[in-house]
Symmetry: D5
Subunit: 92 residues, 10 copies
Amino acid sequence: MLYLVHMVVDIPETVPADVAQETIAREKAYSQELQRGGEWAEIWRVVGEYANYSIFDVENHDRLHEILSGLPLYRWMTIKVTPLAKHGSSIR
Amino acid sequence: MLYLVHMVVDIPETVPADVAQETIAREKAYSQELQRGGEWAEIWRVVGEYANYSIFDVENHDRLHEILSGLPLYRWMTIKVTPLAKHGSSIR
Amino acid sequence: MLYLVHMVVDIPETVPADVAQETIAREKAYSQELQRGGEWAEIWRVVGEYANYSIFDVENHDRLHEILSGLPLYRWMTIKVTPLAKHGSSIR
Amino acid sequence: MLYLVHMVVDIPETVPADVAQETIAREKAYSQELQRGGEWAEIWRVVGEYANYSIFDVENHDRLHEILSGLPLYRWMTIKVTPLAKHGSSIR
Amino acid sequence: MLYLVHMVVDIPETVPADVAQETIAREKAYSQELQRGGEWAEIWRVVGEYANYSIFDVENHDRLHEILSGLPLYRWMTIKVTPLAKHGSSIR
Amino acid sequence: MLYLVHMVVDIPETVPADVAQETIAREKAYSQELQRGGEWAEIWRVVGEYANYSIFDVENHDRLHEILSGLPLYRWMTIKVTPLAKHGSSIR
Amino acid sequence: MLYLVHMVVDIPETVPADVAQETIAREKAYSQELQRGGEWAEIWRVVGEYANYSIFDVENHDRLHEILSGLPLYRWMTIKVTPLAKHGSSIR
Amino acid sequence: MLYLVHMVVDIPETVPADVAQETIAREKAYSQELQRGGEWAEIWRVVGEYANYSIFDVENHDRLHEILSGLPLYRWMTIKVTPLAKHGSSIR
Amino acid sequence: MLYLVHMVVDIPETVPADVAQETIAREKAYSQELQRGGEWAEIWRVVGEYANYSIFDVENHDRLHEILSGLPLYRWMTIKVTPLAKHGSSIR
Amino acid sequence: MLYLVHMVVDIPETVPADVAQETIAREKAYSQELQRGGEWAEIWRVVGEYANYSIFDVENHDRLHEILSGLPLYRWMTIKVTPLAKHGSSIR
């Protein structure tokens, strides 16, 4: 099943720079592993914002929450999930 | 270039049913032609809403506006366009 | 899978009273059939509003959209869908 | 009487990790005791968010406020309460 | 139990003036009967708006919804209900 | 003259617990004195929130601002004031 | 006492042009009479909008509501009232 | 002086097509005359919307309101005006 | 030219009390000097809020920005500027 | 291609004054270099706010994101990007 996920990152000023950098590095590795596994189908940068729109293709709600709540940057993110159905005009 | 486009359709009560149906049919054909041409890369239904999220892959802003303003349902739509850049974590 | 669904009904002034009443009657029958089938797990009235919060327990997004878009009052509704996951504190 | 309650948790960055963890543990025990007593009828995780939707079945407003204001995480929560009435289409 | 209720009235342009006036007259009688019965404890005009804030003192949610959905102007109102608990600083 | 006042309290994490408690105690005494004097006519807790709705009955705007800006918790409050007029349906 | 009042006018498409013009003319006369009487202290046009900000200097809330609800354009207006107190830095 | 102006056009369904077209044609001529005169410095289409952002360079507020309220489509527009000052980083 | 300016002050908890008091004192002096000079035409307190509505009468946008950005409390303020034109019904 | 970009700056209280000043100086140099290169076509101050509206003329989304995310003040900014198309009434 497909979900559109909007993630906004806001790392507090008080987080030490090295902690932030290390967390961002882990985030990237975590994301790429899920992309290679096919569950994180797409990730795009919102121009000018520390935010992304992503497409997830996972088995169910619980799996999506497991993935999202496991994000290294999760506690500093605001996330909004939109479930997507097949569109009647889609040629896929 | 990629754009995320959110379209909400609201056909006024006063539009005759046959006009609405005919317009919806033309919308579907219009969308599928652009999907086959590759510019309308994805279209998903937002669950429970007369709305979709779509990905467009077009040459520039003017071309996207030309496509969107040519939608048969355009005058009854509320559209929001978000430009998408490549994400540093993307494996594509 | 569970979804919280918020539905607000707004029947336009121009709809004849008998059409409205007949549609509302069909809505009730439609809802009760799905309740008996187990997919429409709960429906509550929001106090003071022509609105409800409902819990749906369906197989996937497509099935939920099929149910919601088939509501007799669908064209006069504003619907918002929230996917629900199991909560770590739940004793169920 | 039934209430839909939406709780969003936002633990400030300045709270020490052990204090946060201990409070979360107490929150879980507190919630489960009320679930077993029947007053906290349902709790669901909002996918991708540190938030839940819950159903409370309590005697009156004062009792609900007593329960909610007693939550160990209360001071770091944003809570919204919606009173629910019986719906005319409900088969319960 | 107490509830703060905010009601905004918006009578559509298409409603004939005599129907509007007759409905407003019935609304007043309906309100005053409930005020005399004690369930509609207070009603105040919001200055400059066709709106009121009211206090209801009723037995439960179902009774409040019964009262509000029975308002002659109900279909042209936007209503918001806030449940009120006893305040720890109140001297009542 | 009557005013509906909505107060939301948000004490910053950095305020020492004893300062917070002492201020809350002074707030309660301040409120009760004004209640006894008749100017703070009503105070109700919003269920589930560190907020209240109150009715003030004071001589004019300046007096209301004097009262509100003198609240011990004032600097940590978000306040919204709505002037109330007599309602044509009121039986008072 | 002083109030800042924001008025937005939206005359429905279905109002005949002569009715609209005649109402606007009466509105102007009504406003100017109150300006000459001193209760409507100021009126400014919001640039680019069919809206104004005004200052009223009236005896109490009831009088302000009487004035505003008597505006010829009242039923097509959205009005917001803000009570103003003396500012500690004012030299008046 | 410079102003950023955001205009959204929403022509009601009930306006006859020829009236709409004729008004749009007059709007274009009106806009181009002011562009040639230098007061309407820039006009850009918001991609996917019946809206524009424009820059006006006019003598004062009254002149801007005169221009905007004279737009043939004015009654069907929602307009927001933002005054612009010289920026300290500008090289102009 | 006239502008309506809305200022909301929010001094962070971390600002030492003496710095805050000294800045507030300078703010008052700054405001009164501009009031005496005629550019800060009016200042009113919003009842119950650490906010004001003011009328400025200045030569142009740049001068207004110079005044506002020079406010001693500027960095802790949220400011919104609305340009005001002459109203057709004004008797001034 | 053209983009309207709205930038709001909010430097946290905890940033040392010299760091803030040095960053602001680098921001200015960075902006002016891009202005001279033609990609940052316009920058205007929003009157009364620590914010600007800018026009960028760049080759594509990725380039715009590269520019914006490289802003020295980027981490303390809230940015909103609006893609602009040619307007049918433009004489350019």
